[in-house]
């Protein structure tokens, strides 16, 4: 597996444990980017010459590939965006005012990433709605029971990450979605951390909207997708105006292209879409049960090794998907991360864009190790050994 990622040839000694922030890219994705720029570079949905036409067809084929990846019913239900953040903001800005009226409630978990928290907080404030934040589990995961208990007839939107970005817990979206739908509400799912680790099915989970990022599923940065149910996307106004998204423009007024183009103003990230299609193909070629078993083994191995070190608190559970967050008592996460970096071990230390969660855990930050398809047991062992050494370095041995 590792040999498919040229990055590791450049960094043979690096232990890269920050895949939840961004994944490394397989050769197939790099090749797709190069092929676009060397062979297919033409703008889409504009030119009448053959090259422009065939590039447009390939761009739309990328949309079909993404639709299949998340099991959308129609390719038109996929809007290309810059990534999860833009996807979620698009829903908040365009669908939010249609769905949320004064006095309504928007429900989120305190374990959400800021990008699935702030847009809803701002929407609630703008609409005079209540922003309801469900408490997390003591280990820093979304608590489905706490969310379920807060769903009311006023809950117009539930925004939830399928897998949380700090602790890696899997949320049973379908059960919550059924409950929200029964009350007449809608469900927005942040799939940024689930799509790299498991097959997703937007229809089976009952998502009205589903967002994910290309760069976390081994694709390029600057490209992502929003899935929205066709009948909802149809009703929604565009939030950006310009080329490609119109039907007719006169001095007096404009009308819009059908979905999804009405949400893709301006020249899109064509190379990114090609790269994302290659990444999706790369992921679909994996045997998911093998991937899951491997990543679960790495998570359990790391959790066990860390738990054996005096003063280490490990968040999440053994069921976490590819993510292990922890703290070492008496050593600030930044100091620990610098110590690890000196041994060529790359982890994330900080609040992980989840300050409401950090506040509830009572810590300013955590250290997070996250796995990808290329992660190995050797990576895990080097990290655990270094954490034990850091304890001695900063706190002295006992």
């Amino acid at each position: 597996m590792r040999e498919q990622f040229p990055f590791f040839t450049q960094h043979p000694n690096l232990v890269y444990l920050d895949t939840a922030a961004t994944s490394q890219k397989p050769q197939a994705v790099l090749d797709a980017l190069t092929a676009y720029y060397t062979q297919d570079n033409a703008n889409v949905h504009r030119g009448l010459y053959r090259l422009a036409y065939s590039t447009t067809e390939r761009y739309e084929a990328a949309r079909e590939a993404v639709a299949a990846f998340v099991n959308a019913e129609h390719a038109e239900e996929i809007v290309f965006t810059r990534g999860t953040t833009e996807s979620l903001n698009l829903v908040a800005q365009s669908f939010g005012p249609l769905a949320v009226q004064p006095g309504d409630e928007i429900l989120v978990s305190a374990a959400e990433h800021h990008s699935n928290f702030i847009p809803w907080q701002q929407l609630a404030a703008a609409r005079g709605a209540r922003f309801v934040v469900a408490p997390p589990t003591p280990l820093g995961d979304t608590d489905p029971a706490a969310l379920a208990a807060l769903i009311t007839p006023r809950t117009k939107l539930l925004a939830v990450a399928q897998v949380t970005n700090v602790s890696g817990g899997l949320v049973p979206v379908r059960r919550l979605a059924d409950q929200v739908h029964a009350q007449g509400g809608f469900v927005v799912v942040d799939g940024a951390q689930s799509t790299p680790h498991m097959p997703v099915d937007v229809q089976a989970m009952g998502a009205d909207f589903f967002a994910f990022s290309g760069h976390k599923v081994y694709g390029p940065t600057g490209i992502g997708a929003l899935y929205g149910r066709a009948e909802l996307l149809d009703q929604m106004p565009p939030v950006q105006f310009g080329g490609e998204m119109i039907d007719e423009v006169t001095d007096a007024k404009s009308t819009w292209a059908p979905v999804p183009l009405k949400f893709e103003a301006g020249t899109p990230n064509i190379a990114g879409a090609f790269g994302l299609a290659a990444a999706v193909a790369f992921l679909q070629a994996q045997d998911w049960s093998t991937v899951r078993a491997r990543e679960d083994r790495l998570v359990r191995r790391l959790r066990a090794a860390l738990a054996a070190i005096d003063g280490v608190t490990v968040y999440g559970t053994a069921q976490s998907l590819g993510i292990v967050s922890f703290n070492l008592t008496g050593v600030h996460p930044h100091d620990l991360a610098t110590f690890l970096d000196e041994q060529d071990i790359a982890v994330r230390a900080g609040h992980h864009c989840a300050q409401p969660l950090m506040a509830r855990l009572g810590v300013p930050a955590t250290v997070r190790a996250s796995f990808g398809l290329y992660s190995t047991e050797q990576d895990v062992d080097r990290l655990a050994t270094a954490v034990a050494e850091a304890r001695g370095y900063f706190l002295g041995t006992d």
């Binding site: 610098t338 000196e342 041994q343």
Partner: protein, 147 residues
């Protein structure tokens, strides 16, 4: 292993300074107070100054942070007591230059705080080192005066 570089960053005096910081807490009669954040790590630092007769007569900092930011808060408060606001601003500039460039014209002027020089080898940690110093500059230039 690269621990030589690490040892320069985490010299024993710096660890001592961080784990037993001076001037940590609150002042009885602050004239200036400011809270600053390092958004990349979530660290929060509240700095209080008491300025009278054109001099910083006392200083204290509170909040949690990494070894570097805590040691820096301790060294900064200790260094600026007794200085005029203008010389504090000069010291802030010199300290920033030292931890970014690794050298500064008058290193001795910074006193003990110069032991944080090793931070310049760790660009990602420069903000940890400068947080308290930036707070002092902000408190003296635009921080709300109490009385």
């Amino acid at each position: 292993m690269g621990l030589t570089r690490l040892d320069q960053l985490y010299r024993q005096v710096i660890l001592d300074e961080a784990y037993h910081p001076r001037h940590h807490g609150k002042l009885a009669k602050p004239t200036h107070e400011i809270t600053v954040r390092n958004p990349s790590c979530g660290d929060v630092l509240t700095l209080q100054l008491q300025v009278s007769d054109g001099k910083v007569v006392d200083a204290a900092f509170a909040g949690s942070g990494c070894t570097i930011s805590q040691a820096s808060g301790s060294l900064m408060t200790d260094r600026i007591i007794g200085e005029t606001p203008q010389s504090v601003l000069d010291l802030v500039g010199q300290f920033s230059e030292l931890v970014i460039e690794g050298e500064v014209a008058d290193e001795d002027a910074l006193g003990d705080a110069a032991i944080l020089k090793g931070v310049h080898q760790f660009p990602a940690r420069v903000k940890c080192a400068t947080l308290a110093w930036k707070a002092a500059a902000q408190a003296l230039t635009k921080g709300a005066e109490h009385d």
